[in-house]
C-alpha cells in the first residue's frame, strides 16, 4: 500500500508508545502517533485532545478545535497540575518537535544564536525542562533533518541531553530515547550517549544522512530500513485526519498557505460530521 513520508514517520512514532500513559496531543504528528498506538498495540494509552486535557478521546488533528473535541466527545477534563504531576510521576509521554537537536540529544526551542542576543528568538523552553528531568522515555521528531536542525551542539539547552551535567544531577531520568526524522530513526547508544542510526527510511542513503547532519555521524552501509506502515495504520491515520492537517507540518510556501486555508474553513464541518454534538454543556 502506498504511503507518504508523514505516514511513515507517524507509524514509526506510534511503535514507541506503549503502556498506560497520558499522551499529549500538541502536534498533529504526536496526536496521530498516539491514536495509532492506542488503536493497535497499546489500547491502554490515555490519549488527550489537547496539550493539557480531554482524556479518553479520539484525537482529530485540527488547527483550532482541540478543546472542542473534549466537549463533543465528553473527554475527561484535566488540569495543568494533573499534567505536570503525570510528568513528575513518569506517567506521561510526548513526541517533542525541537528546532535543534545535537549529537548528545540536547534540544533547543529557545533561540538560534546566543540566548542573550539571539539571531532568531524562538519560543522559550516551555515544559521541555520538566520532561527531560523526569520521564524515563523521551521522544523527539524533526521534520526537516539538515545541518541547521541536527547539529553538533545546540545553541541553547532547553532540554537536557546526555553528558556529565545530566549524570551528576539527573541520572537517567529524562535522558533522550529516540529521534525520528524525515531521514530515519536514531537513538543515543553511541559513545558517551551520542546519536546512532537505528534505521533509515526506504530510499534514504547513508550519504544523504551524513550530508544532512551537522556533525560526524557514523552511518554504516548496512543500516536496516524503517518498517513501512501497515494498511491498518494507514487506515487509522487517514480516517482520523481527513483534512490532512498532518501534511501542513511538512509543507511550506504557497502550498502550505492553501492547505492552511482549506483546513481552517473545513474543520468545523469535519468535527461535526465525526462527532455529532452530545457535549456536557
Amino acid at each position: 500500500m502506498e504511503y507518504s513520508l508523514d505516514e511513515l514517520m507517524i507509524a514509526t512514532m506510534a511503535h514507541q508508545l506503549k503502556g498506560e500513559f497520558l499522551v499529549s496531543s500538541v502536534t498533529a504528528f504526536g496526536a496521530l502517533a498516539a491514536l495509532v498506538a492506542q488503536k493497535t498495540h497499546a489500547p491502554e494509552l490515555a490519549v488527550l485532545a489537547t496539550p493539557e486535557s480531554g482524556m479518553e478521546v479520539t484525537p482529530l488533528p485540527t488547527l483550532t478545535l482541540g478543546q472542542f473535541l473534549t466537549d463533543v466527545q465528553r473527554g475527561i477534563p484535566l488540569t495543568m497540575e494533573e499534567i505536570f504531576d503525570a510528568i513528575f510521576c513518569d506517567l506521561f509521554r510526548i513526541w517533542i518537535n525541537p528546532a535543534q537537536i545535537d549529537q548528545f540529544g540536547n534540544v533547543n526551542i529557545s533561540s538560534i544564536g546566543p540566548w542573550e542576543k539571539p539571531k532568531v528568538a524562538l519560543v522559550g523552553s516551555r515544559g521541555i525542562p520538566e520532561d527531560t528531568s523526569h520521564l524515563s522515555q523521551i521522544f523527539y521528531y524533526i521534520l526537516h533533518h539538515n545541518t541547521r536542525s541536527v547539529v553538533s551542539q545546540v545553541d541553547f539547552r532547553s532540554g537536557a541531553g546526555n553528558g556529565a551535567e545530566r549524570d551528576q544531577y539527573l541520572g537517567r531520568s529524562g535522558a533522550p530515547s529516540l529521534l525520528v526524522t524525515d531521514l530515519g530513526v536514531f537513538d543515543f547508544s553511541g559513545p558517551g550517549g551520542s546519536m546512532a542510526v537505528v534505521t533509515l527510511h526506504p530510499g534514504v542513503s547513508p550519504d544523504e544522512v551524513r550530508e544532512r547532519t551537522g556533525f560526524d555521524l557514523q552511518v554504516t552501509d548496512i543500516i536496516p530500513h524503517t518498517t513501512p506502515p501497515t494498511a491498518q495504520e494507514l487506515e487509522i491515520i487517514r480516517t482520523a485526519d481527513p483534512l490532512e492537517v498532518r501534511k501542513l507540518e511538512l509543507l511550506a510556501g504557497e502550498e502550505a498557505s492553501e492547505k492552511f486555508v482549506t483546513i481552517y474553513e473545513r474543520e468545523r464541518q469535519a468535527l461535526h460530521v465525526a462527532w455529532p454534538a452530545r457535549g456536557r454543556h
Binding site: T64, F68, V120, A121, I128
Partner: protein, 287 residues
C-alpha cells in the same frame, strides 16, 4: 458584593510599573479585550508574567508598554513566531526572563502558599538555569541532592477571561483551565472578563467548572468575544485569519500604526464591529 466594573475602571487601578500575570495559553482564552484596554490605557513599564504566552504578550510589546517579561513560551503555535516578541528579544529592548511551564506555576504557587520558594528538579542540566538569574540551586536538607529553588512570583494584578461569571466574581471555565486559577490566587488584585454574566443560581449549576472563586477576584466585566482573536472553548475558536492580519501588520510599521488605531485604540464594541460584527463572528468562529 457587586464587583461588576468596566474595563476602564479596572485599568484605573493599575499603575505604571505594575506586574501583571495573564491567564489563558497561546491561542486559547487570552483576556484580549482587557489586554487591549490595558494597551490603550497609557500604562507603561509593565512586567508581564505568562506561562504559555501568545498574542497578549506580543500586542503589549508592540505597543511599547512593557519593560520585562517572565515567560515559559511566547509564540503563535501553528501560526509561527510572535513578531513583536521576536523583535524585542533580538533587539534586547526589554528584559526577558525565561522560566519553564512548571516553574511559572510553582512560582505563583509559592506566592499563594506564602513560602519564598518551591523546590523542583525541573531545569537541572539545562541552560535555563544559566540565563535565569531568579532561580537558585539548593541542597536538599534530607538527602543532600541538588535542586532548583524557584522563587515566589508576586504579581500585582491578574487578568483572566472566562466563559461565565456572576457579579460576585465567581467564574466558570468550561474548556481547558490553563493556569488561570493560579493567576487569580497569586495576584493581589484579579480582574476577570467573561463571555456572559449569569445569575448566581445559574452559575452554581456548573459544579466543579466553577474554577474561579470570588474570594480571589476584585472585578468582573461582561465582554462577549473578549478572548478574540484567541479562542474560547466550547464557544468559539481562535480567529486565525485575524491573527494572520495581525502578524502581517506587526511586521510592517505603517500597517502596525493602522492596526493600533483601528483595533486597539477603540472600545470593545467598536472592535467587534471592526472585525465584522457579532453575526459575522458567529458564522466564522462559533463551533
Amino acid at each position: 458584593m457587586n464587583k461588576v466594573l468596566t474595563a476602564e475602571a479596572m485599568l484605573d487601578q493599575i499603575p505604571d510599573g505594575a506586574s501583571i500575570t495573564i491567564g489563558g495559553s497561546s491561542l486559547s482564552r487570552k483576556p484580549m479585550a482587557l489586554v487591549r484596554a490595558l494597551a490603550r490605557s497609557g500604562r507603561k513599564d509593565l512586567t508581564l508574567i505568562v506561562n504559555v504566552g501568545g498574542p497578549e504578550v506580543d500586542l503589549l510589546l508592540g505597543l511599547g508598554v512593557v519593560s520585562k517579561v517572565i515567560y515559559a513560551f511566547v509564540g503563535f503555535e501553528v501560526m509561527g513566531l510572535a513578531p513583536n516578541f521576536r523583535r524585542a528579544r533580538q533587539g534586547q529592548i526589554v528584559e526577558f526572563e525565561e522560566w519553564t511551564e512548571y516553574t511559572v506555576m510553582a512560582g505563583l504557587d509559592a506566592a499563594i502558599k506564602r513560602v519564598p520558594f518551591l523546590p523542583t528538579r525541573s531545569g537541572l542540566a539545562t541552560d535555563v538555569l544559566k540565563v535565569n538569574h531568579a532561580f537558585r540551586t539548593m541542597t536538599d536538607p534530607f538527602t543532600g541532592q541538588q535542586l532548583v529553588a524557584v522563587p515566589a512570583i508576586h504579581p500585582d494584578f491578574a487578568l483572566i477571561h472566562v466563559n461565565y461569571a456572576d457579579e460576585r466574581g465567581n467564574g466558570v471555565i468550561l474548556g481547558d483551565g490553563h493556569i488561570d486559577v493560579l493567576c487569580a490566587k497569586a495576584a493581589k488584585t484579579t480582574f476577570m472578563s467573561c463571555e456572559r454574566l449569569v445569575h448566581a443560581d445559574e452559575l452554581q449549576r456548573f459544579g466543579r467548572d466553577v474554577q474561579i472563586l470570588r474570594i480571589h477576584t476584585q472585578g468582573v466585566a461582561e465582554m462577549p468575544w473578549g478572548a478574540h482573536p484567541t479562542g474560547c472553548a466550547p464557544e468559539y475558536r481562535a480567529d486565525l485569519k485575524h491573527l494572520e492580519e495581525y502578524m502581517a501588520a506587526a511586521n510592517d510599521p505603517a500597517k502596525w500604526a493602522v492596526y493600533q488605531d483601528s483595533m486597539v485604540f477603540v472600545e470593545h464594541g467598536q472592535y467587534l464591529d471592526r472585525i465584522g460584527g457579532r453575526e459575522h463572528l458567529v458564522s466564522r468562529l462559533h463551533v
